[in-house]
Amino acid sequence: MIARAPLLFVTAAFALLAAYPLVAGEFGVDLVAKIMIYAIFALSLELLAGSTGLVCFGHAALFGIGAYAAVLLSPQNEAAALHWLLPASVLAAAAYALFMGALSLRTKGVYFIMVTLAFAQMAYYVIHDTPLGGGTDGIYLNFKPVLTLGGTTLLNLDLPETFYGFTLATLVLVFCFLALLLRSRFGRALAGIKDNEQRMRATGFSTYPYKLAAFVISGGIAGLAGFLFAVKDGVVNPELLSWHLSGSVLIMIILGGLGHLRGALIGAFAFVLLQELFKSEAIFGNFAKHWHLGLGLTIIACVALLPRGLVGLPQLISQRLSGTRSLRDGDSPDEPA
């Protein structure tokens, strides 16, 4: 399923990420670890929005629930065991995804978008306004989880390099899992649902369980990203569940290119790096205060000029260079069906 060039690209990208801490300082390692977490988060949404055609506008809730679960389930006075805290956080997010998906998947199109947003806002206000979530300030994670075996510590996520390596390994695993999933029968059925759900039903696929399964898997992965985020910063706050983050992650996958797993990777990097760029006072001086404006304009320009996202850039360049337009340009079949 994966053509040679993308495979090469992804392998090279992961190799570069693995080598990066050897040359980078503390700030760089921290930044790239954050981007990789966003990339995992973006991959989870890509499974839904890009591969199944379900645009979820409440994905931050699942991310935030994973993050809050990591903190709330950690003991106050000692480090939690990684091998149960991580699955517990993933399961917490997946459970909310099951609830959210079971109801929201009864709707379609723009209604689906609004219902998922409503579910996310519901989770946001529960965390924000009840003692459970510690209010606006959020809560701190006193001890970061560790993986121990027979008294020796195998992984201590408090160490930045260890955390970086663990995050990268998680990202690679999630990517490979999704790549396998999408080429399986299940993945092809999701692609069929995206392309023509009516036909899928007419040929004998009950599409609802497929979509719900995709939603829960996606939610679990979003929760995994949230878990990593909570462990990285050692603190969680309600903003992790806010619709701003749901929007940001949607922009990431659109920027990178919907329908491609590597689009989620590229999009996460592009989005966060652009954000850092426009926030940089060294480059933009006083204008850095208005970084939203610069970021927004750049994204609008990207979407306008690159309808297929950054993933489509090499093809676009080669077309411009050879002066031809491919038959599949625009990717629009000649019938709306």
Partner: protein
């Protein structure tokens, strides 16, 4: 002759859209080994009838029996699983997939195995073989790697049938498979239907009267949601009501 084996039966099917009665107490039987054509003017309720039989939406009243079972409350996918295949009036294919993948995915419906996430769908022997077979049968094999959305209209109509066959149905509900295609393709399609006839019960909704009279064993005529005649082609040809409905009143 033994009595015909009825595979699909619609009983007193009615569908109302607000005040409009699109299908009004229509009953019909589809038997294995026969082509049952439903003809009628535009808006007569033919496509609605197919949608009711296939479970696309529920009838306002009436029942559907498939292979002797009451399937009125079954969802469309469940009816499809039980052996009911349909094609659509407007092309309903996976436009972004290859012709082969269109058929393979349709065939996959019979063996879904969604939990086996590590197995590649492209290496699924059952669905591959089935897809190859239906592509051969419908004459689409040479286009197997073409993107389905880029096929000609006639080829898309053939692909609809191929996808339908890939699910191994016993009952075929075909909604205007000949609409908008050329004479040669029409001949090929009718040949295919004749080949399929012995093993299947076929419902054919069609506007092309020549084709209908060439292939149909039985013809049901619908006007404004009701059946005005249901008989052999010869009797339909000489039926006064049908002539009135189609050609208008005879000038004195």
């Amino acid at each position: 002759m033994s009595p015909p084996e009825v595979l699909l039966r619609g009983i007193e099917l009615t569908r109302r859209w607000g005040g409009l009665v699109a299908v009004d107490r229509v009953s019909l039987e589809l038997a294995r080994g026969s082509v049952h054509a439903v003809i009628g003017t535009n808006g007569a309720g033919k496509s609605t009838l197919i949608n009711l039989l296939s479970g696309e939406y529920p009838p306002s009243s009436g029942r559907v029996e498939l292979l002797g079972q009451d399937v009125s409350n079954w969802s469309q996918p469940r009816r499809a699983q039980a052996g009911l295949g349909r094609s659509y009036q407007r092309n309903t294919i996976y436009a972004n997939f290859s012709v082969f993948e269109n058929c393979r995915l349709a065939a996959q419906a019979r063996l879904q195995r969604p939990w086996a996430w590590w197995e590649s769908a492209q290496r699924c022997p059952a669905s591959r073989e089935k897809a190859e077979a239906v592509l051969q049968r419908t004459g689409l094999y040479p286009m197997r790697d073409r993107q389905a959305g880029l096929l000609s209209h006639g080829q898309k109509r053939q692909l609809e049938i191929a996808m339908c066959l890939a699910t191994d149905p016993q009952v075929l509900l075909l909604d205007e498979p000949l609409a908008g295609i050329g004479p040669e393709e029409t001949d090929r399609m009718l040949e295919l239907l004749a080949e399929l006839r012995p093993g299947h019960a076929i419902l054919l909704v069609e506007h092309d009267m020549d084709a209908v009279f060439r292939i149909a064993d039985r013809i049901t005529v619908m006007v404004n949601g009701t059946v005005i005649a249901s008989d052999t082609p010869e009797s339909i040809r000489s039926n006064a009501d049908v002539q009135t409905a189609y050609l208008g009143e005879e000038q004195p």
